[in-house]
């Protein structure tokens, strides 16, 4: 199978030093592949470790064991052991992340927030803004908001800015953390169509979707995270 990301034997626990060193085992033996042009959806109850898996893949969380290999241009890189500089390069060029919440930077307009990943990869500002405008338009964000910083936007508006920012590049692998959580039906349909287009373009995606309608529409496979849960074993 032509995979772009291979996860094997990954384990994650947290040691809470401020809580008498309590150790929370989250997941163990996480192993799966992410094939080109498919969307794999992480399933399982709240708290089972779905978000932790996405964060380990993106590098926000370290891992205790195992390997997270990603195809970056022509080489395979193990994100579990890569140095910060390599992780940043992989994020810029290969691995994208659409989070549930937008981390707002003061004074930067919605349009520039969306255009930024293209500018970071060397595209001229005007071209990047034109692409950003196209996406915001498609996601039905009112034009009047484009030049404003998203700090004061509603949850759904911020989320659409976030989606546009995540989808604007042609990153080969995308991580989607509930990108449709606060969207109305019309915009959910837009996002479903955008995910389908990414698939046709060969993008490999791993997502969390609690909305069953969206999940059924986008998932090629559902991976039950309970299989990897380290908590049940302890209990």
């Amino acid at each position: 199978m032509d995979s772009l990301l291979e996860v094997s034997g990954v384990a994650k626990s947290f040691t809470m030093h401020l809580r008498d060193g309590i150790r929370l085992d989250v997941v163990r033996d996480v192993s799966f592949d992410l094939p080109r042009g498919q969307c794999v959806v992480l399933g399982g109850a709240s708290g089972v470790g779905k978000s932790s898996i996405l964060k380990m893949l993106y590098g926000n969380y370290g891992v205790d064991a195992g390997a997270i290999r990603i195809r970056h241009h022509d080489q395979w890189i193990d994100l579990a052991t890569a140095d910060p500089r390599t992780v940043l390069e992989v994020r810029r060029e290969t691995l994208g992340y659409v989070s549930q919440f937008l981390r707002v930077v003061p004074r930067v307009s919605a349009l520039d927030v969306v255009a930024e990943p293209l500018v970071a990869r060397g595209m001229a500002m005007e071209d990047a803004r034109a692409r950003a405008a196209g996406l915001l338009d498609r996601l039905n964000l009112p034009k009047a908001l484009w030049s404003l910083p998203p700090a004061t936007f509603s949850g759904g508006e911020q989320q659409r800015v976030n989606i546009a920012r995540g989808f604007i590049t042609d990153h080969a692998v995308l991580l989607l953390d509930e990108p449709t959580a606060s969207l109305d039906a019309e915009n959910r349909a837009v996002v479903i169509a955008m995910i389908a287009e990414k698939k046709r373009a060969g993008t490999a995606m791993l997502g969390i979707f609690h909305d069953l309608e969206v999940r059924d529409a986008v998932a090629d496979r559902i991976l039950d995270v309970a299989l990897f849960s380290a908590r049940e074993k302890v209990a």
């Binding site: 947290f14 030093h17 926000n60 930077v105 003061p106």
Partner: protein, 258 residues
């Protein structure tokens, strides 16, 4: 991708008699990379910054800098003239208190133009044009060019200090609590400005801060210091989202949510 580090630091230590300023600090800084050094007062972060920038002599260890001619030089072995030239051209140093980095009784334009004159520029009109341009890049109106920084607000002074440092096109900028002591709204504006300039100019920067939000917004990588030692380091969002050391967990859990 640029494949040589700008700065190579090995086992850098500074002791004051028995007392440790910083101990055995090693890291590399790459072109375009922003490194935040965080920790509480007295943790050694400013001592480290001063040793790195040759403002303070280290007790042991080396700091090597990749000069524009491609050679690595041990900073402790530079002549005083070479060191001063480096500090005026290829480096910037932004102090927490703008008064430490500005001349308060000469005009804003002269403050910004001075570094150009120090590296040999002599044409008054061109220096003034460059100064005006840099003032506008830090959002200070051209009508303020003849005013002294004494007449500026804290936020404007800090922006002026940044312009003064960046006019010579430095490759590396050291910043010591650049947003400390400013109102939050002024801080936000300054942070956004620094973030934009660092990105547009491809600067490398080492920023000392006790404010984790500043580190999150500006830096790619961070080092956490305690009692003179680097106790944790890595990708900024990994250190903040998944802190390992007890002290780092305490720092992160102490952030007030609004």
């Amino acid at each position: 991708m640029n494949s040589t580090p700008l700065l190579k630091v090995q086992k850098l230590s500074k002791t004051y008699g028995q007392r440790i300023g910083c101990k055995d600090v090693s890291f590399e800084l790459w072109p375009g990379e922003v490194l935040a050094i965080v920790g509480e007062s007295g943790s050694g972060k400013t001592t480290l910054l001063n040793c790195l920038s040759t403002r303070l002599d280290a007790t042991s260890g080396t700091v090597e800098y990749h000069m524009r001619d491609g050679a690595y030089r041990d900073l402790a072995r530079l002549s005083e003239a070479e060191r001063r030239f480096l500090m005026r051209t290829d480096w910037g140093f932004v102090h927490q208190n703008p008064a430490d980095g500005l001349r308060m009784t000469v005009s804003a334009g002269a403050n910004v133009g001075e570094r150009l004159m120090a590296v040999g520029h002599r044409h008054y009109g061109r220096i003034r044009d460059a100064a005006t341009d840099w003032l506008s890049r830090v959002e200070i109106g051209a009508d303020r060019i003849d005013d002294q920084p004494r007449a500026f607000s804290g936020g404007m002074r800090q922006r002026l200090q940044i312009a003064r440092n960046l006019i010579t096109g430095p490759r590396l900028v050291f910043m010591d609590e650049p947003t400390g002591g400013l109102d939050v709204s002024v801080q936000a504006r300054l942070l956004d400005l620094i973030r934009g300039l660092v990105h547009d100019l491809g600067l490398s920067a080492i920023i000392v801060t006790h404010d984790l939000a500043v580190a999150r917004l500006l830096s790619h990588r961070m080092m956490v210091m305690k009692d003179g030692h680097v106790i944790e380091q890595g990708l900024t969002d990994r250190v903040l989202d998944d802190p390992r050391q007890p002290y780092t967990q305490l720092l992160v859990s102490s952030i007030l949510q609004v």
